[in-house]
C-alpha cells in the first residue's frame, strides 16, 4: 500500500517537472531530490562566501577611491548571494549553522577557483571577467531550475553577476590598454586564471556522476561540457579584442562547427584542488572558521540580550 503511494507521489512529482511546474518547499519531493538540492545550493552558498576572500584580499590595496568602492560593493553582493542561498537551502530543511559547520569540517565543498591566490590588482579584473563570467554561464540556466526558491534566488544573483563580470572586464581592459607594466600584470592574471576558470565547469560529462539525474530533475539544464564550450566561445574573442593572449597553444577555431577547440585541461590539478591540495584551500577554510570562532561571543551576546528583553 505504502509503496504504491510513494510510486504515485513520484509519478506526480516527475509529471510536474516534465511540465515545467516549479517544486515549492511544502510540496512532496523524493528524498534524493531534496538531498541533491541541499548539496548543490549549500555548495553554491559556500562558494559565494569563500569567494569573498580572494577579492577581499585587495580591498585595502585598491588603487583609487572608485575602484575601492566598486570592489567593496561587489564583495558585499557576494555576501548577499550567500545569504539568499543559505535561505533557499533552509527551505529544504538545512539549518544554516549546520551547513556552515560542514564547510568548516571539510565535509562540504565550494568552487575550487577560490583556492587560487590573488597576487596582483589585475586579478580583480581576471576574477570578475573570467570567474564571474564562468559563474554566469553556470547560473543563467539555474533561473529555470525546477526548485522554485533556488530558481528565484538565481534571477537576482544573475543580474548582479552580470554587473560583476562587466566591472572585471572593465578593470582588465583598462590595464591591457595601459602602460607596459599594467599590460604585463593583466596578461599574468589571465595566464594564472584561465585554466582554473575552465575547470569551474566541473569534470567532463563522461566523468560527471551527478549530471544525468540532475538533468532529469531539471536541477541542471545543460551539461558541464556544453557550458564550458559556451564560455570559451564567448571569452576568446573578448581576450583578442583587448589584446591579451589566451595561454593555450592548442586553442583554435574550428571553422566547420564555429566553436573554439582548447587544449586538454590538467585534470590531475583539478582533482588535487578538489581534494584540498590547492594553493589556498587551508587558508580559505581557516579564515572562515576563524570568523565564526571569533564571532561566537558576539552571537552569544546577541542571543542573551534578546532573551533578556523578551523577559522584560
Amino acid at each position: 500500500m505504502e509503496d504504491k503511494n510513494i510510486l504515485e507521489l513520484e509519478r506526480r512529482f516527475q509529471e510536474k517537472i516534465d511540465n515545467d511546474i516549479k517544486i515549492e518547499p511544502n510540496d512532496w519531493m523524493p528524498d534524493d531530490y531534496r538531498q541533491t538540492l541541499i548539496r548543490q545550493i549549500s555548495q553554491h552558498a559556500h562558494s559565494e562566501i569563500v569567494g569573498m576572500l580572494p577579492e577581499g584580499n585587495w580591498i585595502t590595496r585598491a588603487p583609487n577611491l572608485r575602484r575601492k568602492a566598486v570592489l567593496l560593493a561587489k564583495v558585499q553582493d557576494e555576501a548577499g548571494h550567500g545569504l539568499y542561498l543559505y535561505s533557499a537551502a533552509e527551505t529544504l530543511g538545512a539549518d544554516r549553522e549546520e551547513t556552515i559547520d560542514d564547510l568548516h569540517s571539510g565535509k562540504a565543498k565550494y568552487s575550487s577557483i577560490f583556492n587560487y591566490p590573488t597576487l596582483s590588482w589585475a586579478d580583480m579584473g581576471a576574477i570578475g571577467w573570467l570567474v564571474d563570467g564562468a559563474a554566469i554561464m553556470n547560473q543563467v540556466p539555474l533561473c529555470r531550475c525546477s526548485y522554485g526558491p533556488y530558481a528565484r534566488a538565481m534571477v537576482r544573483v544573475c543580474k548582479e553577476e552580470s554587473f560583476h563580470q562587466r566591472q572585471g572586464f572593465e578593470i582588465i581592459a583598462h590595464l591591457a590598454q595601459g602602460t607596459p607594466a599594467q599590460k604585463e600584470m593583466a596578461q599574468d592574471a589571465l595566464n594564472r586564471f584561465w585554466w582554473p576558470a575552465l575547470m569551474m565547469f566541473g569534470p567532463n560529462d563522461a566523468e560527471s556522476k551527478h549530471t544525468v539525474q540532475s538533468m532529469n530533475w531539471k536541477i541542471k539544464r545543460s551539461t558541464n561540457d556544453e557550458l564550458r564550450q559556451l564560455f570559451v566561445d564567448v571569452t576568446v574573442p573578448q581576450a583578442e579584442m583587448i589584446g591579451l593572449t589566451i595561454p593555450d597553444k592548442d586553442l583554435k577555431l574550428n571553422k566547420e562547427t564555429g566553436h573554439y577547440e582548447t587544449g586538454e585541461i590538467n585534470w590531475a590539478e583539478f582533482w588535487e584542488v578538489v581534494k584540498g591540495n590547492g594553493p589556498c584551500n587551508k587558508e580559505r577554510v581557516d579564515a572562515r572558521r576563524k570568523a565564526k570562532e571569533d564571532g561566537l561571543w558576539v552571537r552569544e551576546a546577541a542571543s542573551a540580550f534578546a532573551e533578556k528583553r523578551k523577559n522584560k
Partner: protein, 252 residues
C-alpha cells in the same frame, strides 16, 4: 588665516576621518561575526569611502593646486593626514570596532545636522547626503553597544575594555583651533560646544542602557588634526598607498 585656506583644512579633516575609518572598517569584509553583520560593516565602509570621495574632491577644488580626491587620498605623507586618532585605531575585536564607530557616529550625526545648513553650499550638500547614512550608522552601532554591554558577562567585559581603551581619544573630537574659529565666525561650521553637548547626551544615554561605565582615567591623547598620529596610521597608509606608490603616474 584666510577663509578659503581654513575651509580647505576643515574639509580635509572631515574627509580624512571618513577615509581612514572607512579603510579600517573595510578590513572586516569577509570576516564578520555573522553574515548579516559582514554585510552591514561593508555598508558602513562603503558609505564612509563615498563621503571621503566627495569631501576629498571638494578639498582638492578648494586647494586649487590641481590635486583631485585620489591624489589627496593616496599621495600624501603621513604628517599630512588630519584625521582623528580615534578613527585610525586598529579594529581589535568586533566590539572595539563597534565602540570606535559609535563614539564617532555620535559626533558625526549632530555635526552633519548642523552642517547641512552651512552657508557654504557645497559642504551643506555633502552634509545633507551624509547625514542620512550617518543616522543609520548611529542607530546600528548604538544598538550593538547596548546589546554587547548588556549581553553576556564576557561581552560586557570585552566592550567595557574597548571603551576604556578608546576613551582617551574622544576629547580630540572637539579639538578647536584657528581653522574652526575662522569658519564659525563665517557661519560655515557650528561651534564645537553645540556638537559636544549632543555627543555627550547620546554617549551617556547609550552607555547607561548598555550598563557600561565611562572610565575615570581621563588622560587625553590628541594630535591628529595637526598631523601627529599614532603608530597605527603608518601601516594603514603603507597598505592603502601601495599601488599608487609602486606604480606611479598610472590610471586604474
Amino acid at each position: 588665516m584666510e577663509k578659503q585656506k581654513a575651509l580647505y583644512e576643515y574639509v580635509l579633516r572631515l574627509a580624512d576621518d571618513s577615509l581612514i575609518l572607512g579603510h579600517r572598517v573595510s578590513e572586516w569584509c569577509g570576516h564578520g561575526p555573522i553574515l548579516e553583520e559582514d554585510i552591514a560593516l561593508t555598508n558602513l565602509a562603503l558609505d564612509l569611502i563615498g563621503q571621503a570621495t566627495s569631501l576629498l574632491n571638494y578639498a582638492g577644488e578648494l586647494e586649487g593646486k590641481g590635486r583631485d580626491g585620489d591624489a589627496l587620498a593616496f599621495l600624501r605623507y603621513e604628517r599630512e593626514y588630519k584625521n582623528l586618532l580615534l578613527v585610525e585605531q586598529m579594529n581589535g575585536d568586533f566590539g572595539k570596532t563597534i565602540m570606535r564607530q559609535f563614539l564617532f557616529d555620535a559626533f558625526r550625526k549632530p555635526l552633519f545636522e548642523k552642517l547641512q545648513h552651512s552657508t557654504d553650499q557645497h559642504l551643506a550638500a555633502i552634509a545633507e547626503k551624509s547625514l542620512k547614512e550617518t543616522k543609520y550608522h548611529l542607530k546600528h552601532t548604538s544598538e550593538w553597544v547596548i546589546r554587547l554591554g548588556d549581553g553576556t558577562e564576557e561581552s560586557h567585559i570585552r566592550i567595557q575594555e574597548s571603551l576604556d581603551a578608546l576613551w582617551k581619544y574622544t576629547n580630540e573630537i572637539f579639538y578647536k583651533d584657528d581653522v574652526d574659529s575662522v569658519l564659525i565666525a563665517e557661519n560655515i561650521i557650528p561651534s564645537s560646544e553645540e556638537i559636544k553637548a549632543e555627543w555627550t547626551k547620546t554617549v551617556n544615554d547609550v552607555l547607561e542602557q548598555a550598563t557600561l561605565t565611562i572610565p575615570s582615567n581621563n588622560w587625553i591623547q590628541e594630535g591628529g588634526r595637526k598631523g601627529f598620529h599614532t603608530e597605527a596610521l603608518g601601516y594603514l597608509l603603507a597598505e592603502m598607498q601601495y599601488m599608487q606608490r609602486a606604480y606611479p603616474n598610472m590610471t586604474w
